[in-house]
Symmetry: C2
Subunit: 93 residues, 2 copies
């Protein structure tokens, strides 16, 4: 297992494979695909199929990366600023 | 910027800060909080506030990490298996 996989390299990997198509499709339609994966994650959380559950988590993360790519958002910068800064993050319930 | 931030270390950071509370709350209720952040991401995609958009991406990723933590899913293993294996990933539309 590649424990050393960075958020940045995974986001770039998704960019190389999918950004062109996803950017042409646009954020609203790409968000619909993302939501489909979120729905599949909900189903998987409700079942006993561990392999499928893992796969659905992977899919949601991949679609989140592509949404970030076509929105010109760097996820590493985003989480570093919000969750790894000095202050205790707000908004986590 | 910490380009070297790994998925694993961020997932562990979220675990250290939030897993105990989130695990006690359980996956169904934690999923509701995750969905609230997904909704806020949708709103942000529909606005011109770049800083807020970045923050909402961070929140969705953080809540995805906590859902994975309480589901005993390692996100690095999950995406490595699905997206960084030999075969071209299926299911990306």
């Amino acid at each position: 297992m590649a424990e050393s996989l960075t958020i940045d390299s995974f986001q770039k990997h998704i960019s190389e494979k999918y950004e062109k198509v996803d950017r042409a499709r646009g954020a609203p339609k790409t968000f619909l695909w993302f939501m489909e994966e979120v729905g599949e994650l909900a189903s998987a959380l409700n079942s006993d199929d561990r392999a499928n559950l893992e796969e659905e988590f992977a899919d949601v993360l991949a679609w989140l990366c592509t949404l970030a790519n076509i929105s010109d958002v760097n996820l590493t910068e985003a989480v570093t600023r919000k969750y790894l800064g000095k202050a205790r993050p707000e908004g986590h319930k």
